[in-house]
């Protein structure tokens, strides 16, 4: 039998109200995080390069339900009551040091699409209002994210122009620059009905001063709580700040890497109510966006800052739309703009051609940019489960409940590819550090590797025993031919995979148990990509033909049969938690996982491994 732990008992509602009225401490049961250091063979991951050891297990306390709602335990299994959207514990990691968080050597290889100029803005339609002169020539350093962050407007990064570049309406006037950089309302003194309360650690300032500069902060959601934890502190179980929301659950969150500093952190959170909160944990200020779902009333399943942008972020709503918000703009009731009104012929073409595939409800080039949303794209009517920005900051990979992976050029607001899962919905997605491959995990228990340049599936990775909830590359163990990635799933397992382009195994159906490299099909992806790119860009140079140009490059890709797709086995598979896992990330010296019930586990990399060079390990 699996039953919930007994809910804590509460004093009566009256006692609570009286206490609030008289300003006393609210009589509420508070639960604490627990830090433990389990050891033993079951807490070791043995891989080729050595053994990963469990450093610590931080169990975040699940907050008790808000006093305004009685703890409803519904014993009726057939109750048809709609359940609120909820999510397992996800973590946003933050390192305030200026040192880049991802190894740089990876970006020496040129990324395919940005490098060849296929999507450079030089072929843009002039009516988009983008001065053609501002095209930045492709640089070899395609993924550099270490920006100074001094400019107000979104800035071009590397080879990619900034999102919405050329739309004068998006450039804020210089006057109030620096003035409104922080959110408005104090979260600790908030009387909002949305925020229940905010518990700040009594020694917050001292703890912030004393901590090592390169230590990680972790921001984690659990149930209706949101915690700020210092992962470099020996007392990491004591949260720096804990926010309790009334009913909405924080489902996703992200930190702006451009604006982060010792004195300022821009954090955004998406909620099960569809609302979004922009929050600065250092000044304890916040602003509510999409208040009461005025722009979109469906839960936010994923939220991310647009790379390189100080103000803009992208939120995936569960009705299948992607909405770009500006953290400083006011909300306004939103109805889809007619494509004609913004005079963007590219968009209207897209509407007629692929209306079901990417419907631009509001373009970033729209002149009407006084209020949020900045832009809004409707992908389908199916729930979006996750999306990820490519390292070259041009594309997003979006996965949905209907089992599709969409590659979208978000700068041009154009859909490039639709791939289908083997079956079932996709749950997670990520890009390889060099931007060549996309990984997806889904309800077919598979991790799939897709080649973006070739628009094809590369391999299916079989090894999970249930749905794959998170996938992530390990950039410290990737080079230009070999890739290491990990995946976690509902089966409570962490799997590690090694994938190298030349070493894919043939499917068993074709050659039973024969090891060897696959045909030349995958041998030279760059070459094929290049020829394809040149032909299509020739076609695309005539902008009125842009829609037809897509014929060259089919958008919808059918499911590859099992018999012709390479299968990849894992190099390590281990049950690492008694609960289904939901999040995974690699840091320089550890693997961090989290599960649905709030266990954050840190697995230290092998001590005498090959890349111990930088050595600076976090405190154990």
């Amino acid at each position: 039998m699996f039953v919930l732990p007994p809910p804590p008992r509460y004093p009566s509602q009256n006692a609570y109200n009286n206490a609030v009225a008289s300003g006393q401490a609210v009589p509420m049961v508070e639960t604490n995080n627990i830090l433990s250091y389990p050891t033993g063979p079951e807490y070791q991951l043995v891989v080729g390069e050595g053994t990963y050891l469990l450093k610590e297990d931080l169990h975040l306390a699940t907050p008790p339900p808000h006093p305004s709602e009685a703890p409803i335990i519904n014993p009726n299994p057939l109750a048809t009551t709609p359940q609120p959207a909820t999510a397992g514990t996800k973590i946003s990691l933050l390192n305030l040091s200026s040192r880049p968080t991802v190894p740089q050597q990876i970006y020496k290889t040129e990324t395919n699409r940005s490098g060849t100029g296929f999507h450079s803005s030089i072929q843009e339609h002039p009516s988009e209002g983008r001065p053609s002169g501002d095209f930045v020539p492709p640089s070899s350093d395609g993924g550099d994210t270490s920006l100074t962050g001094s400019a107000r407007a979104p800035v071009s990064i590397g080879s990619a122009p900034a999102f919405g570049e050329g739309n004068a309406m998006l450039v804020a006037t210089g006057k109030d620059a620096g003035k409104r950089r922080k959110p408005k309302n104090n979260i600790a003194k908030s009387n909002s009905s949305f925020i229940s309360r905010c518990i700040v650690h009594e020694n917050l300032t001292r703890r912030l001063q004393e901590r090592p500069a390169d230590g990680y902060f972790a921001f984690a959601n659990i149930n209706r709580a949101f915690q700020w934890i210092d992962m470099s502190s020996p007392q990491k179980q004591e949260h720096l700040t804990k926010i309790l929301f009334t009913k909405g659950h924080c489902l996703c969150h992200d930190i702006n890497q451009v604006t982060k500093s010792q004195t300022h952190i821009d954090l955004i959170m998406g909620f099960s109510t569809g609302e979004i909160i922009w929050y600065d944990p250092i000044s304890q200020k916040y602003t509510r966006l999409n208040k009461n779902g005025i722009i979109n009333a469906t839960p936010v399943s994923e939220i991310r800052w647009i790379p390189g942008s100080e103000n803009l972020f992208l939120a995936a709503h569960m009705d299948g739309s992607l909405v770009v918000y500006d953290k400083e703009k006011e909300d306004a009731a939103f109805s889809p703009e007619e494509a004609v009104t913004n005079g963007n012929s590219d968009t209207s073409n897209g509407n007629t051609e692929h209306s079901a595939k990417l419907h631009v409800d509001k373009s970033v080039h729209s002149k009407n940019q006084k209020f949020n949303p900045v832009s809004c794209w409707k992908l389908s009517n199916q729930r979006i489960n996750a999306f990820a920005f490519s390292p070259d900051n041009r594309h997003i990979a979006v996965v949905s409940e209907d089992g599709t992976l969409r590659i979208i050029d978000y700068l041009k607001e154009q859909l490039l590819d639709i791939f289908s899962s083997y079956y079932g919905g996709f749950i997670s997605v990520c890009w390889s550090p060099d931007g060549k491959y996309v990984l997806t995990g889904g309800q077919d228990d598979l991790v799939s590797i897709w080649s973006v340049a070739e628009s094809t599936i590369v391999a299916r990775c079989q090894g999970h025993q249930s749905w794959v909830t998170a996938v992530c590359f390990d950039p410290w163990r990737c080079d230009d031919r070999n890739y290491r990635f990990g995946s976690v799933g509902e089966d409570c397992r962490l799997l590690l995979w090694d994938f190298s382009v030349g070493m894919l195994h043939r499917p068993k159906a074709l050659s039973a148990r024969q090891r060897g490299s696959v045909s030349s099909r995958f041998a030279n992806p760059l070459q094929r990509a290049e020829t394809q790119n040149t032909t299509s860009s020739r076609l695309r140079s005539n902008s009125s033909l842009s829609a037809e140009g897509e014929e060259e490059h089919t958008i919808e890709h059918p499911v590859e049969p099992r018999a012709t797709t390479a299968m990849l086995p894992p190099v390590m598979s281990k049950m690492i938690d008694p609960h289904p896992l939901c999040w995974l990330e690699f840091t320089e010296d550890s693997i961090i996982t989290s599960c649905k019930s709030g266990h954050i586990r840190t697995w230290g990399r092998p001590r005498d491994g090959a890349n111990e060079s930088e050595g600076a390990s976090l405190s154990a």
């Binding site: 699996f2 039953v3 519904n74 014993p75 299994p77 109750a79 609120p84 309800q443």
Partner: protein
Amino acid sequence: MLYILIVISYCNSVFQALYYSVPFRENVVKYPPHSPYDTPNGQPSIVTPIRAPIQNGAAIPAGKAKGISAAEAMKRRAAVNAGQPVPAAPGQRPEDKPDSPEYKKKHAMLAGPILELTYENAASYGMEESTFTALKDIFMALIANSSRIGVLSPQRFLEIFKRDNEMFRTSMHQDAHEFYGLVLNAIISNVEANAQRLKELDSMAPPRNDESLAPSMNSAVKSAATTMDLHSGTRSPGTGWVHDIFEGVLTSETKCLTCETASQRDETFLDLSIDLEEHSSVTSCLRKFSAEEMLCERNKFHCDNCGGLQEAEKRMKIKRLPKILALHLKRFKYTEDMTRLQKLFHRVVYPYHLRMFNTTGDAEDPDRLYELYAVVVHIGGNAYHGHYVSVIKTQDRGWLLFDDEMVEPVDKHYVRNFFGDKPGMACAYVLFYQETTVEAMRKEQEAEGLAEVTLASQEAEFSLGRSPTNGISRQATSPVTPIEENLEYASLNHAITAPLPSPSTATSTIPFTPIVPAATQVPILDAAKPKSKHDKERERRELKEAEKARKHSEKEKAKAEEQKRKEVMLSRRETHKTQEEETKRAMALSKQSAAEEEEKRKARDSTSNGAVKENGHHEKTFSIPTLNRSHKGSKSMSRKSFGFLGGRNGESKGSSVGDDTSTATEGESMLQTPEKHSKKERFSFSLGRKKSANILGL
């Protein structure tokens, strides 16, 4: 008589799954292709006695007329008609509570029409009376009946089924999966036997009276047919459909480890029984099913090549995929000491779509796509007691929950409530997947989307606390179809509920509001037009009208879709408004009821059981709205145990100790920890079992 009570829930859940399989239903209706008798188009008319629904919302004085013999049912019904309408004071019995399952079920019986299949039309099909003909009777009756809603009592089917299957004659709690297997086997062998008989009797005169065949001979023919078609694989002409739909072929490959010789053996299957593991998926369990297995020690393999028992490797793969794939999740497992079955509450996730990994290399279409269309759910703590419901995707109105006489529309996500990890001991037990195509899937997903959007925003609203009441929120978000409306849809099977809202109680809630999906597929069942005058006429026109209706509905669908899209924004806002209004109203109601409840709670300990029960339901309906369908599982359990007492009336209920305790503890458990609650629930089950044992002992 009483066993029907027990039979009904597993029977119903399996039946619905079969009925809503389009290829199966169509083939059953079509078979036999032409009858030897004088029905011109091979569609004999089914005359089903239909009782008119009672329009004034009168209550049955004593229990429900479920599971009683036809004659007795008639008597009871007459009594009901004559009986005094119960004053609509708030809640004397659970079934008087609007929005409680009991209420809905009762009203289903009252609202009717109730189809009584107490005799057979086997002769008109030109077949012997058998499980198949009884099943066909039911299907035909359902399709022929122009009313969308009603209750059908499958008396004759069960009588025949029990005649042929000794095991099901007892009053024990039966296994839905076993029932499914037996029904399918019986159907296949019936069809085979019929084909055989027709062939044999081709030259002879057709028998005048099928019933004259002795039952013993009947079963002999059947078992012969069973062995023939299941094991030798030969088929009679014209019966391919039964095989095609359900039958797959498994290949077991055995490789002798001594001489390396591999041998293969094919066998047919109607479903796959798969072992479960904690935190796994159906995909993974299927893969385990085909994993290599070592035959060693006591279980060695007799190798023809080496001559003798040898160690061997064995694995099962699927050679031919069936159209309908039934996956039986082995939730019931013997305990270590092999004395009794325990239920496994492993969390096993199942996707909406599926492909099979474990096919052989030479299988045709190894990447066949399946979609989930029915889930049979077992509720209960062990194998000996429990309740079955099914959640089924219908062609024209989305997912429906079938719970005895009650049918409720549910959303797509509801299907995922039965992975096994939610409290309440409800787990998916049999999963039905049917073959589909990527195109069909995409099309459906697009159509689904709109409903999805509403749902997602509803979820958001729920978290915002805007729609606290279950019934109300559903009422507001799903388009309401008047119950009396005769759509171009034949009645659903045995268990359609439309409680007639009695004027006094139904002011705030309409318990059953069937969803008309924004746009789904073409309704297949649109043959039965509302204005059909005579059965025979309709039968003849069926095809034509079906065609017409399809075209019509397609047009309408397109129109509706367009309109919907335009109105999405508008309607969403309107929905908010209505919901807020409803919420206010509900809050007022709940306040009012809270006061009453307080009094009743005080009186609980001293008062009789009836009051307690009423109190509990009162709470469910108003003050804790999300509980409004609570206690279902244990409720029906206890009801079942009363079945053995031989009475369905209030007196027996009142005097029964088991019910008393279980309800009382349930009431309290809302204030208690869930752990305690579940213990209590189990306790009530065991009480029920004891009782039934006693009765059986008598």
